[in-house]
């Protein structure tokens, strides 16, 4: 009975794609990123965020 209720709940959630989307994990698809430029861009953005944060953090000490 409980399993049936859980499965009905699961079907309800799955149909709305909400549950899988809510899993908190970075999944690298297959061979990695499809677009190398995007990766390089994000790496640069990450480094900029880190440097700006260090500067802000030091200023607000």
């Amino acid at each position: 009975m409980i399993v049936m209720q859980l499965q009905s709940l699961s079907n309800c959630f799955m149909s709305s794609k909400v549950v899988v989307q809510s899993l908190a994990v970075v999944q690298k698809t297959g061979n990695g990123a499809k677009n190398l430029n995007t990766i390089i861009l994000i790496i640069i953005i990450v480094i900029i965020i880190l440097i700006v944060s260090i500067l802000f953090s030091n200023r607000n000490k």
């Binding site: 699961s10 794609k17 899988v20 989307q21 970075v26 260090i54 000490k61």
Partner: protein, 226 residues
């Protein structure tokens, strides 16, 4: 070279390794004759996971001991239930709003990849969501960055922004990507807040992420099995 610059280089190297480890290790395994993509990705994740645990083993141990010592059983349960419920409510709300606003939108790449992996290998899915994500990802996005940024607010914003950006790195850019950034950002803000509020105890955010992921994973696996 001062201490902060050394720390910055350390963080950048860890992140660069994070970006390329799957491709590099899969390539090496392919040269050794291991052609199965799932096995290669699993071994790559395992190597990164073990590396992060070895680097930060003292912090994990210290956090675990603090949690055991400072919290009674009832407090432990209340702490976990409270934060998991908050995270779940926030994420579900975000997902439902997206569904209402953009009902015809297809699932994003990250979601699609997770769903297909769950149907191929339950074991890998469990490893990835209950072990790798709570431990390796939390160490990467919280502990590593915290070493650089001492200001709490700046740390919460920076680590959450980086987490959100990296989450959408492997998907195509569309409306979903923008919504995903916001949703991942809010999720990470809550986890970073838990980390900072508990005197930088990484074990706390790991624990919350573990129990949080347990709910959708259970529903997902039941859905696939049913």
């Amino acid at each position: 070279m001062n201490e902060k610059t050394q720390q910055l280089f350390k963080v950048i190297i860890i992140f660069l390794f994070y970006f390329i480890y799957t491709t590099v290790i899969s390539g090496v395994l392919s040269l050794c004759g291991i052609k199965d993509e799932l096995i290669a990705v699993f071994i790559a994740d395992l190597v990164f996971f073990l590396g992060m645990v070895i680097i930060y083993k003292d912090s994990i141990k210290e956090g675990f001991l603090k949690f055991i010592k400072n919290y009674s059983l009832s407090k432990k349960i209340i702490f976990i239930v409270k934060w998991v419920a908050i995270l779940f409510a926030v994420n579900m709300l975000g997902g439902i709003i997206t569904e209402i606003l953009f009902p015809s939108l297809e699932e994003d790449g990250n979601t699609g990849a997770l769903y297909s992996i769950a149907s191929i290998s339950t074991f890998y899915m469990i490893f990835k969501t209950l072990i790798f994500a709570p431990v390796a990802e939390e160490l990467l996005f919280k502990k590593t960055i915290r070493g650089l940024i001492s200001n709490n607010v700046v740390f919460i914003i920076a680590s959450s922004l980086i987490y959100a950006l990296i989450n959408i790195m492997y998907i195509d850019f569309n409306v979903f990507a923008i919504i995903d950034v916001i949703s991942y950002f809010i999720f990470s803000v809550i986890l970073s807040y838990i980390f900072v509020k508990n005197e930088d105890n990484i074990f706390m955010s790991m624990l919350i992420k573990f129990f949080y992921n347990l709910i959708p994973l259970t529903i997902l696996l039941l859905g696939i099995g049913g």
